[in-house]
Subunit: 228 residues, 2 copies
DNA sequence: CCTACCGATCGGTAGG
DNA sequence: CCTACCGATCGGTAGG
């Protein structure tokens, strides 16, 4: 094995060439921060997990806090997609009950996914240390979904399908009827064998949608209550 | 000044004699843990703030984790009182809308109070380190209130005032319609000048109660929507 | 010569 | 109950 070959092996191990160093660090830091929290994760552990030296971390980020901010803001943008889906699917739905149920089921699954619950725990637990970051995330992720839902509900009200005085309040009512209890419980309950299975989440979401429509549907636009 | 006098001054400063040592430590530890989190609070700081030596801490608690558990479990029992009020006031209300609004307003004020929000942040942020403690608190505090509300709603359904298939689900819907959005936002937003004032919380609670009654009241048992 | 990175170790502080 | 101190580990940086 020539020296050149050896050098190549070093360049490509374990995470490929230079361009991917940043990705490798962010991946490792994300995993560790979500697992053990901010003070519970050392820069040494991150460096080890990423397969780089600690000096590399400090060549790319000023300090631990800056790396943490990168991790949080790059872990967010699932929300954008859900917001777009809400806007599209509620534009002019054939069956409002069905459309809302489909959205509700995706919303509760996203909100109670292990990854998102861990990210919320991390941000909530560090809100006193990173108040601006926690607020920024909240406006960015749940805020985007909530704004899309409020706009969609306002449109549906103009179309005559719903009776909505305050679209923002109605969007909050929809979201928390659907996922409030499940999300709150998930924040306090560390992932276990008795995590709610998908079909149970679907039922919870359906119950939330039914309650929402009883509260917000225009009279006669939907059956008040389907027989059990 | 005699040595005895000097000694007495030490005994009674700053938190009185021996019996109150435990209280002084718990008070100091509660303040510091709620302020700076578990790893952000040192046993030295707690000892200093309580006016005792670090050795006293370890004479009363095996280690930092045991002291933390004491702090969390002694900070809880506000919930018991709210649960009792729910049971009493919803037993046979003259005006259901009024009774639910009164309960909702106390519930949202308690849930968004700085102290309770900080306690939630602390437990959620440390749920990975203390999974059993987080679960125990959740069953003890929100769980107690939710159980009382479910029982009360079931009773009201038997009296004919409400239409309730699943009392637990209905209690969740009530709680999260009333306080879900406010609580979720409070967890991410560190106490600031723009905290929601009491009258705004009251409005949010009223909106939640109205939506709940539109969804759960029996037909004709209440006006569907008061004119604005 | 550069960028990217290494092994080794700094001063301070944690829980106990 | 205090001062002094431990083994271990923190975030951040030295020279090469």
């Amino acid at each position: 094995m020539s020296p050149t070959t050896t050098k190549l092996a070093i360049w490509t191990h374990p995470h490929g060439p230079f361009a991917n160093t940043r990705t490798a660090v962010i991946d490792a830091a994300t995993t560790l921060f979500l697992q053990s929290g901010y003070p519970g994760t050392s820069m040494d552990e991150i460096a080890d997990a990423a397969g780089v030296s600690k000096r590399t971390l400090y060549n790319n980020w000023a300090d631990k806090e800056h790396l943490f901010r990168t991790v949080v803001l790059e872990a967010s943008p699932v929300a954008r997609q859900l917001a777009d889906e809400i806007t599209d699917e509620l534009a002019a739905p054939d069956d409002l009950h069905l459309a809302l149920t489909s959205i509700a089921q995706r919303q509760i699954r996203a909100a109670t996914s292990h990854r998102l619950v861990k990210l919320r725990r991390l941000l909530i637990g560090e809100a006193h240390r990173f108040p601006d970051l926690a607020a920024e995330y909240y406006d960015l992720a749940p805020g985007t979904v909530m704004a899309a839902m409020a706009a969609a509900l306002e449109r549906l009200a103009r179309q005559g399908s719903l009776r909505v005085d305050d679209p923002t309040r109605a969007a909050e009512h929809f979201a928390f009827l659907v996922l409030g209890a499940s999300l709150d419980r998930a924040l306090f309950t560390v992932e276990a064998d008795d995590d709610p299975p998908d079909e149970r989440l679907d039922t919870v979401a359906e119950d939330g949608v039914r309650a929402f429509l009883r509260a917000y549907a225009t009279d006669g636009s939907q059956p008040t209550r389907p027989a059990p």
